[in-house]
């Protein structure tokens, strides 16, 4: 940078220049730190935004007065009383339809109570407010609600309740839960890992232990790195074309005697996810295998072990913690993926638990997406609840990966 023609500064000029340099050094250092602060602020805002949405006031009205059906207060209703009310007040056709969905006798009290509020009392939500709003402007909200909806009940609600976890999907936000979605996600991730873990580990073993250093190996390696960067939605398109259409007899279960489904099943989506996480698992497993020192292999060869015996008895057991850690991280990636599932054909509305690889499916991120894009604010509230569930699952997975790594990590 310095120019030969300009003489080297001396005396006062030197000190001034030095001070200017120090000043800019300090300014830039704080700018660099500022970038990280932005990241921290963004993360805080995101978490605050989610929590803010999951709690808050809700104002609702009963279209029919519960007193018309029973004299007992709603919260003290027993199962038998509720069954009685349904028999009395529902047409036999409607009752039989409910009975068909799930026998009324086998439903729990809370399920029945929900049904009671939904079908007979016909609860009607007038508005929801975020946590911050509810806490800071409580008086104004109360005034507004009593002004606009004199009959409405205003209460502070946590949208994330134990009930929320075990209730299936519902068309009304007040009664919806994430049970179907969580089960769907677990199925998907399970199938994905059943496919990707053995295949990915096999590929990693091949590349690290067997492959010659030739052009073909190089192509495979480059290709794996590239596949890791392919947008997830492209995998969705592959899944749609390959698993949903071409392999429909397999993924719909037709060759196993299933008749009532098309290719848009858990199996098709799970396999798509498996292909998606495969490159991640291979790359992680390769790192783990690479970390096993060569002396171990040479010792095994030295006593006459074959290559596979060496790999199976010595390399793999030592690389296993690393491989598993990588797989858990890949799992958490699969758990959060949404786009490929939309493309492969997640069901928009499904309230029965998935009962096998050939059933239709929904997943936690799909639910979050659908609820977020609804206009009504109560759906945003349950979307926030579902996000907390998803983040909690991811946190558990990642924490277990870190524990596994710290527990079994060996330094050679």
């Amino acid at each position: 940078m310095s120019n030969a023609q300009i003489p080297y500064p001396e005396g006062e000029v030197f000190n001034l220049a030095l001070r200017a340099r120090y000043r800019s050094a300090t300014i830039w250092q704080s700018l660099f730190l500022g970038a990280l602060l932005v990241a921290i602020i963004a993360l805080t805002a995101l978490i605050y935004n989610v929590i803010d949405g999951a709690f808050g006031y809700i104002a609702y009205e009963y279209k029919n007065d519960p007193a018309e059906f029973t004299s007992t207060p709603i919260n003290e209703l027993k199962k038998e009383e509720l069954l009685d009310i349904f028999k009395k007040n529902l047409s036999s056709g409607a009752y039989n339809k409910l009975e068909k969905e799930k026998p009324m006798d086998s439903r729990t009290q809370s399920e029945l109570l929900e049904l009671f509020l939904e079908r007979l009392v016909r609860i009607d939500t007038k508005g929801t407010w975020s946590m911050t709003d509810s806490l800071l402007n409580g008086a104004e909200i109360r005034a507004e609600v009593t002004g606009k909806y004199p009959d409405a009940i205003l209460e502070f609600r946590s949208w994330l309740t134990p009930q929320f976890l075990v209730t299936p999907m519902s068309s009304r936000a007040e009664f919806a839960g994430v049970r179907t979605a969580v089960l769907g996600s677990l199925w998907l991730v399970g199938i994905a890992i059943l496919f990707a873990l053995p295949v990915g580990t096999g590929a990693a073993i091949y590349l690290q232990e067997y492959a010659q250093r030739n052009w073909f190996t190089k192509v495979i390696q480059t290709n794996i790195n590239n596949l890791a960067g392919v947008p997830s939605i492209v995998y969705g398109m592959l899944g749609l074309a390959l698993f949903v259409r071409v392999l429909e007899p397999l993924t719909s279960g037709a060759i196993f005697g299933m008749t009532d489904s098309n290719g848009r099943t858990i199996l098709a989506a799970g396999l798509t996810m498996g292909i998606l996480v495969l490159p991640l698992i291979i790359i992680n497993a390769q790192e783990a295998i690479k970390a096993v020192p060569d002396s171990l292999r040479q010792a095994a060869f030295g006593v006459g072990a074959t290559r596979w015996q060496t790999v199976w008895h010595h390399v793999l057991p030592n690389a296993l913690p690393g491989i598993l850690t990588g797989s858990i991280l890949a799992l958490s990636r699969a758990l959060g993926e949404t786009a490929p599932l939309i493309v492969v054909g997640a069901s928009t509305f499904i309230s029965v638990d998935p009962n096998g690889p050939f059933s239709k499916f929904t997943a936690l991120p799909i639910q979050i997406y659908q609820w977020t894009t609804r206009a009504q604010s109560e759906f945003h509230a349950i979307a926030a609840g579902a996000i907390i569930v998803l983040l909690a699952l991811l946190l558990t997975l990642n924490a277990s990966a870190i524990l596994l790594r710290n527990r079994f990590q060996r330094r050679w």
Binding site: A25, L31, A35, A39, N225
Partner: protein
């Protein structure tokens, strides 16, 4: 086994020559090796399957007599159902959101990488690094929620009437935050790989820490940073959920970030989410878009790998 334990004294020279020292054929070993080879080549098969399946359907789309390359690349309205095939309606939104995302993530990611690698103490790093890792681990649909329900209302306060409920600016900003950790961690790796002796040389010449970082370490790590930028762009182009939630649902040829517009990925997600009959032009057109996405990201990824390999400075 018996042949090998023959008493050597009794063995004549001829017999010794016949002793087989070649590797013994073991069927099990070969089977295992074959299986492992198969799993290894599955990644190649995946790529071929992507190219084949996407290409096949995309070819169907382009074989439609109504679709010409001139229309595809030369017009700006996209609605295959009624004969409008201008891909620019979708590409424009992808460009705008990706550009905004890079404008956010590049300076912030690079600055945080420099701080983490050059300035931060070990303790500081152990606090700051996990925050970036958490940011990197958040599912994109959650970022979508954040964009629509947090950033958009703030922008709405700021721009008032001029901004639409769904807009590219909000999606692009949040996408920038999503990509920040990627750029930061890849750049930091590149910066940390620069040997200490270079920094010490600069300090010995009287350079400040800033001068060392920006004029010595940064140029030395430039190839790694370049790769990070390219990967970041590739990620931005392929990102789906943030734009599907927050950027709008309808192709719109507009470069105004305050407008609603649909990106290529967002369009695929919306159309394929509905009931789509196979063999319709809508269906095949999605594969044409997906093929474009695949090729663009593939080229970007290949360039990034090439940059790293070609320009990696060898310090010994």
């Amino acid at each position: 086994m018996k042949e090998e334990t023959i008493n050597l004294k009794k063995m004549d020279v001829k017999k010794f020559r016949e002793l087989d020292l070649k590797k013994k054929f073991r069927a099990g070993e070969s089977v295992v090796q074959g299986l492992l080879f198969l799993t290894g080549s599955l990644s190649i098969i995946t790529t071929l399957a992507i190219v084949y399946e996407l290409g096949k359907e995309a070819l169907l789309f382009f074989n439609n007599p109504d679709v010409t390359l001139l229309k595809f690349f030369g017009t700006t309205k996209w609605q295959p159902g009624i004969g409008q095939y201008g891909i620019w309606a979708l590409v424009s939104a992808t460009l705008v959101t990706s550009l905004i995302a890079m404008l956010i993530s590049l300076p912030l990611g690079l600055a945080s990488a420099i701080y983490l690698s050059e300035y931060a103490s070990l303790k500081m790093r152990s606090i700051l690094k996990p925050i970036l890792e958490i940011l990197a681990g958040i599912p994109t649909v959650v970022y979508g929620y954040f964009a629509l329900l947090f950033i958009t209302p703030i922008l709405k306060n700021f721009f008032g009437e001029h901004i639409q409920v769904y807009n590219m600016l909000s999606a692009g900003l949040v996408m920038g935050i999503m990509i920040l950790p990627l750029i930061s961690s890849m750049s930091e790796d590149a910066l940390s790989a620069v040997p200490r002796s270079l920094r010490e040389g600069a300090y010995a010449m009287g350079a400040t820490k800033l001068e060392t970082s920006l004029q010595i370490v940064l140029p030395a790590a430039l190839s790694g940073i370049g790769a990070a930028i390219i990967i970041g762009v590739s990620r931005a182009v392929g990102e789906t959920m943030i734009v599907a939630v927050a950027a709008g649902s309808g192709p719109n040829f507009s470069f105004n970030p305050l407008d609603a517009a649909e990106t290529m990925t967002g369009h695929i997600a919306r159309i394929s989410g509905g009931d789509l009959s196979y063999n319709s032009i809508d269906y095949t057109s999605l594969f044409a878009i997906a093929l474009m996405l695949f090729l663009v990201t593939l080229v970007l990824n290949l360039i990034s790998q090439w940059v790293v390999n070609k320009f990696r400075e060898q310090y010994e």
